[in-house]
């Protein structure tokens, strides 16, 4: 399982990259491996607001649809349009294949995110 030290993580297998007031969200290598080949990613709309814990992305593998939860509250300011035509990037390169950028409405929520070490223990 590949993990990047500089990222933050959520128990529900999302990764978070914080840049100022913005946060990039994707799923971990562990999660993509468990999902199997992703064939469709349903992304949120730019401008939508999400609360921490909301289901905001749906990933469809050949077998099933899986929900992805927003790790932080805020407004969606950008989505990764590339994934619409190339959902396989989520399997090939999960830490590059971000789904959306959230402009955080409550940056304190980042305190509850996990370090790569903490997350690794959960996956064991």
């Amino acid at each position: 399982m590949k993990l990047l030290k500089e990222l933050k993580y959520v128990e529900s297998h999302e990764w978070v990259k914080v840049e100022g007031s913005k946060a990039y969200i994707g799923i971990t290598d562990y999660a993509q491996d468990h999902l199997g080949e992703v064939v469709y990613a349903e992304l949120p709309e730019v401008g939508a607001t999400v609360e921490k814990g909301d289901q905001f992305v749906v990933l469809e593998s050949v077998k099933a649809a899986s929900d992805v939860y927003a790790p932080l509250s805020g407004t969606i300011v950008e989505v990764n349009e590339e994934l619409a035509d190339s959902p396989e990037k989520i399997n090939e390169s999960p830490y590059d294949a971000w789904f959306a950028v959230i402009e955080m409405s409550n940056p304190d929520e980042t305190q509850s995110l996990l370090t790569s070490e903490d997350y690794e223990k959960i996956c064991e």
Binding site: V39, S61, K63
Partner: protein, 364 residues
């Protein structure tokens, strides 16, 4: 949880194990799409030992089975196989199964794993005449070897000429690398191939032999995930999806195995009436025009109302499109009819298309 004789092999090969109707079985090894493509282009090996096997023997075996199943098995030659449904009085399907005929007094039924006990009870409750019904599921391991290279691979392990086993025929007591097996030219992928039945204790040895023999042919082990996408592209029905106790074989497009002309059988009256008065629902194929993947039991809409439901839907690895099968009101069954699939509360455009989605490559 039940395991097949191949369980340790699945773990060794790093199969992703899931609970499949109470059985620990691999959903995939190398990836569903990869495995799917290997079966279409080369060969795949499936552990289907969870399937149920029931023997029916005795002087009234033929008469009894004619009454139990919808297809006409009196026309079978010895060593021939029939695909059939077995119905309730109201025409709903108890199960779909294969009937292997050794002789008119000796048959082997191969049934769906999750239905084995229900079927066994149904068979016993409707028993007639001089017959013996026995559930022998645990005695057998079953492997399916499927794909254009299947015959070449199996031929390496047997002396007899496999060309002599025709489509939907079988040969018993064949020596496969030292293991006695029944070989049938059957399968559920839309490809040419064989199913092998043999003593469950020989499971791991047979599995290893076939994988080794097929190495240079590009064989891969295949899990339940690709088994489902393969049978789905070929529009082969799956119990609990296209057929179940609330769907008749006629509605599911399985009229070819409902022989209303033969003598009485369970469900005949209802099925005759249904045929005479015209089908109200039909199973259709469809293609998504909008984005999204249809799944089992999603609603199908048209003209702002519900007209049916999805029975199976998936990304098709061969066609590289999102397609599905749906049971819809008959008036919407024509090709090119615009329909909508409700995906997470959104109506997404789709269109009725011809099925099967993939032309079967059986060796006739």
């Amino acid at each position: 949880m039940k395991t097949t004789p191949l369980y340790e092999k699945h773990l060794e090969l790093k199969g992703k194990i899931i609970d499949f109707g109470g059985w620990n079985l691999p959903v995939e090894y190398s990836g569903i799409i990869l495995e799917h493509e290997a079966v279409r282009s080369k060969a795949g090996l499936f552990d289907v030992s969870h399937m149920g096997e029931i023997t029916v023997k005795g002087e009234d075996a033929e008469k009894y089975l004619q009454m139990i199943v919808t297809n006409d098995i009196s026309v079978l030659a010895d060593n021939q196989i029939a695909y059939t449904t077995m119905c309730y009085e109201d025409g709903g399907v108890v199960d779909d199964l294969l009937v292997y005929k050794y002789s008119s007094t000796d048959y082997l039924l191969v049934v769906n794993a999750s239905n084995t006990e229900k079927d066994y009870e149904w068979l016993n409750n409707n028993a007639l005449g001089n017959i013996k019904i026995k559930n022998v599921s645990l005695d057998y391991a079953q492997l399916a070897l499927q794909g254009p290279e299947a015959q070449a691979i199996l031929q390496k392990l047997v002396n007899e000429n496999l060309d002599e086993i025709e489509f939907y025929h079988f040969k018993s007591d064949v020596n496969v690398g030292g293991i006695s097996a029944l070989l049938s030219r059957t399968g559920y992928t839309g490809e040419d191939g064989f199913e092998l039945y043999f003593a469950s204790s020989e499971g791991p040895k047979m599995w290893d032999m076939l994988l080794e023999a097929g190495k240079e042919n590009g064989i891969v082990p295949v899990g339940l995930g690709a088994r489902d996408t393969l049978r789905f592209e070929a529009a082969l029905p799956l119990y609990g999806h296209e057929i179940d106790k609330d769907v008749t074989p006629l509605e599911a497009g399985l009229g070819f195995c409902v022989k209303l002309s033969k003598n009485n059988f369970i469900g005949r009256n209802t099925l005759s009436e249904q045929k005479a008065s015209g089908l109200k629902r039909k199973l259709v194929g469809f293609e998504m025009l909008g984005r999204g993947i249809p799944r089992n039991r999603y609603e199908v809409h048209s003209d702002g109302k519900k007209i049916g439901y999805v029975t199976t839907g998936s990304y098709s690895p061969t066609l590289k499109k999102n397609i599905g099968l749906a049971l819809v009101d008959a008036e919407y069954a024509k090709e090119k009819t615009p329909i909508e699939i409700v995906i997470r509360n959104k109506n997404v455009k789709a269109e009725v298309i011809k099925k099967p989605f993939y032309t079967k490559k059986y060796k006739k």
